[in-house]
Symmetry: C3
Subunit: 208 residues, 3 copies
């Protein structure tokens, strides 16, 4: 019996629940994008992000519970908990962005904010697609998606450097400080996505 036959029926519940977490992160990224594009009902949107973050915590909890009950898992315990906790970081930093929009009383979106949100959404969607290919152990397609996640992280990094340099030409220093921090958080989301992609690639190398 090949690994492929063994891995799929064994405990597909792990894929189900990680997929649920991944889908939750995609939903949050869309909410984030809409938030910075529409900039309306910001308190309601923060509340909604908080709920998505909370739901993420519950899914992570479910994953840990399941691991403690399981003797056998399709992929290493450590890989599963790493994925779960990195996904959780992605979500936490997305919430931190929306939370700061409220806390720092940001009144309108900026061009970099919208660009970042688009990069984040695209990054999270690529991660989700890579994750779906995990079930099929399709190394080639996972590689394609993960390379795109890396490219997006580089794009976010350049965007951060240029946006901060641009910010420094602003007159209002407090605005510089607030936006710089928000941009840094947005860039960190793409770093965390890249970390997820590294784990996915490690896993696929181990199991194929």
């Amino acid at each position: 019996m090949g690994l492929r036959e063994w891995i799929i029926p064994q405990d597909k519940a792990f894929f189900d629940v990680l997929e649920k977490e991944s889908a939750n992160v995609v939903e949050a990224a869309k909410e984030l994008e809409e938030t910075v594009k529409n900039f309306d009902a910001i308190n309601e949107r923060r509340k909604r992000m908080k709920d998505l973050e909370h739901r993420g915590d519950e899914i992570v909890h479910e994953i840990y519970e399941r691991i403690n009950r399981s003797f056998i898992t399709p992929i290493d315990r450590e890989d599963i908990t790493k994925l779960a906790s990195l996904y959780d970081d992605v979500l936490d930093f997305m919430y931190a962005v929306v939370n700061r929009l409220v806390l720092y009383e940001i009144k309108s979106p900026t061009v970099p904010m919208v660009k970042f949100a688009e990069i984040v959404r695209s990054s999270v969607e690529n991660i989700h697609q890579a994750f779906l290919f995990m079930r099929k152990l399709d190394k080639k397609e996972i590689d394609v998606k993960c390379i795109e996640v890396d490219r997006l992280e580089n794009e976010a990094d350049s965007l951060l450097n240029e946006s901060v340099a641009e910010l420094f030409k602003e007159k209002d220093i407090v605005t510089i400080l607030k936006l710089k921090e928000i941009y840094e958080y947005l860039e960190t989301v793409t770093d965390k996505c890249e970390d997820v992609s590294f784990v996915l690639r490690d896993v696929i190398i181990k199991y194929t």
Copy 2:
């Protein structure tokens, strides 16, 4: 012979020395709290914090020395060095706070500073109590203390977000920059305490 009987007499010196480190950290947290509450003799207090930090370094050195001489340790080598080095981080960040009070010529305490120092002291005391329950391998009591450490970390995190948002309403930008950095260091102390609590929980799961 159960693990309990084996673990305690075997090399209780490790508990003794880790306990000494933990007690040193508690002393530093009390010094930090008194510093931000009294705000007197700040140079002497910085000197005293430096001494406590130095003493912490010596204890860590003693732990490493002892590990190199030992063939058997009650808990994993790696867990001991992780604990020792995380405790050291807690101490370093506490010193960094007091050092910045002097370097940045802060003239009076702020409300968040005092609140942070209380959270830090409480967090460090809970860690110390959890550590004392390690000797008895009392999983339940350790859990209670560690959950409190997590709660305090969340409290510090919210305090940071709100205090920084409040700071941004200040007029003097340099004051914003100085206090923001000091608050971030204070919040990092509670992050490091949470990291200690994670290791304690891992250890207790392994050995009970």
Copy 3:
């Protein structure tokens, strides 16, 4: 056959390629020092740093390729990849400094900038020398070099604290923000050098 005889002929290509990476980092540190000392042709210098960083990436890629092809390596796979990736961080942060000189339109060097660049160059050279002693498994000489790297990291840390405290007395806030970030990046280079030195010491303890 002792370890010494075994380790050297086995796959000395790994030492060759890590040495190439290390030498590339030394070259970048010299370029960095000249950049902040001369402050001329800054765009050409950034381009040159980018090339060195790019060459670093290629060397890291070569190391990974070689590891995937090898069944036996002289030192642990994980140690090699850790070294390669930490060296890469050293280089990335050096590039980040020069990149910010251009992006933030810094017009002249500052005293701390020059001091930092000297510390960085010295740190990187000590690392390189420690690395050369790896081939001979000369624990004593490696220790001497690594202790110097630690000392330089402490020096950079104090320099950062004092320079930032000094910066806060500046009038122009945007200058404070720009230089603070550049100083922090310079200090991070020495942190990463210290991380390299930790791995070198771990490796030499394992293999002697």
